[in-house]
Symmetry: C2
């Protein structure tokens, strides 16, 4: 499973049914929370997301609309009896801010919070586990801001069941074949791996870019990602205002997607001046056809596909 | 107009359609925000309350479920172009907490915030304006906590129009009569005020008690208030747990209402262990009949009545 649930798509302030920044990425049933605007704990609850499955929280930057929900998420986790440690990744300052708020509100976390302050100037891998790696990279906003690239690790190969029988492959040899090895049989013969296994599954990838001005240095980082969320706060007639405020337009988001050759572009982080989002979608699609609107509560998933 | 809108009735964490602590009292079209749990800015927006009309915010105590919404309310006010000063009344610590959060989130308020740190040990008048007074008084929770008593000032008397004609009362004499004076006519006669005016309107009052353990010292403060919101976090079978955690049961809230002779009791701040609130209502009514459930989004108003 590789599934993105968007909790909120509104920039700065909530607007009608658009909530503040927050997303949950589900990779192999582990949940990763990306940004955490006010109300994130309500959104998680309303959308039936199990907060006990969240062990990593990524915060792009310390503007309130991307982090004011953390206090509530963390205290609610405690109220639900959490004892597992939790890791938070963010630009510097978040740890001090949260610890100060907890002190003034007489709150002591019953679980360990590991704060990871990320260097916002460089591209760096910040997490690796069994299933994936997470890389942080600089974005171009008014304050130190990072984007996140989540990439699945290569999958073990699937052996074709009939081949096990055909070549009498013993159990002890299976692991090596799943990892790409050929099979050396007892007679000294070599059966090439490609004959024994199905074409491998393609590792899936997702990148999150909010908030950021248009910047082509993002292209090599985003090259070929399957799903890109790129903010498109404004229509392109507001390109000057976007640049001034460290945001992007529809056309700019779509241009990044186009040049980086991503699979799909999801736009979001809409200014509250836009009630009808279809005009933003149309503008983005004029540059990059495979664009969809980020919509609060919608789920965007990537299927497993074999490399052919 | 004297109208209370309840934004949230849930204790500690949001539960189904019950949000966190927050209320808006509308007195003569000035809005007073009482407590401000996470999501208050959403509730205000969804309920069509004009946040520009809020000039005073009262925070009972610094547990997160009563104050984590402040960051969002204050920054959203700024995004809406607010320049008018705002006053906040709370136990000590709130100013430092908010200023720290604003510093880490690169936020500078474009309007002045006057923080008033209230002594939580004594009964003290903390606000007086044209229409009302607000008095803070100690509550009995695990941390320094205050309740709020809002009382309308006496209304000017209404002169009976026919009497102005009958006694040929000049315009210059009206103000004195409205303030309770008799009318001295040009022939040296005295027309008593009671003959010239209608019985006066009764000033209305509202008191907010959340969070607090049962404590009879509240009774003289709450004596005769028209509308009392008193937390009833638990059913009475959990009286011991209520005492330990600094909360009240239904029976305890109703007993305070009964002994203080209030007009109406609104209960709230319900534990998330209760889905069906009617059992709490029934228990409270067994002690104080004129009890109603505090329900998220409901409006509770007091009509003007003449003293007879």
């Amino acid at each position: 499973m590789f599934e993105l649930t968007i909790l909120g798509t509104s920039a700065a302030v909530p607007y009608k049914d658009r909530y503040l920044a927050g997303q949950v990425l589900n990779v192999q049933s582990e949940l990763y929370l990306i940004d955490c605007g006010e109300g994130t704990q309500f959104r998680i609850k309303d959308l039936g997301i199990r907060k006990s499955k969240i062990n990593h929280i990524f915060i792009s930057h310390l503007h309130g609309d991307h982090c004011f929900g953390l206090f509530g998420v963390l205290t609610s986790m405690a109220m639900s009896g959490r004892t597992d440690p939790l890791s938070i990744y963010s630009p510097s300052g978040l740890k001090d801010m949260i610890e100060t708020v907890f002190q003034y509100t007489y709150y002591q976390s019953p679980f360990t919070i590991n704060f990871n302050e990320i260097n916002t100037q460089i591209v760096s891998q910040i997490l690796e586990n069994q299933y994936l790696t997470v890389t942080a990279f600089p974005l171009y906003h008014r304050i130190p801001t990072i984007g996140f690239l989540i990439k699945e690790k290569p999958f073990p190969l699937n052996i074709i069941p009939e081949k096990i029988e055909q070549y009498q492959i013993p159990y002890s040899a299976i692991k090596a074949i799943k990892n790409g090895g050929d099979y050396h049989n007892t007679e000294g013969g070599i059966i090439p791996n490609s004959e024994l296994t199905l074409p491998p599954y393609k590792p899936r990838s997702y990148a999150y870019c909010s908030d950021t001005a248009y910047n082509e240095t993002l292209v090599p980082i985003l090259e070929g990602v399957d799903m890109l969320y790129h903010e498109a706060t404004f229509m392109h007639d507001m390109a000057d205002h976007a640049t001034e405020t460290g945001h992007s337009t529809t056309i700019q988001a779509a241009t990044i997607a186009q040049v980086a050759g991503v699979g799909q572009l999801i736009i979001g982080h809409y200014s509250s001046r836009y009630e009808n989002l279809n005009i933003l979608l149309d503008e983005a699609k004029s540059v990059f056809e495979n664009t969809v609107l980020g919509i609060d509560g919608n789920v965007y998933s990537l299927d497993l596909q074999r490399i052919i």
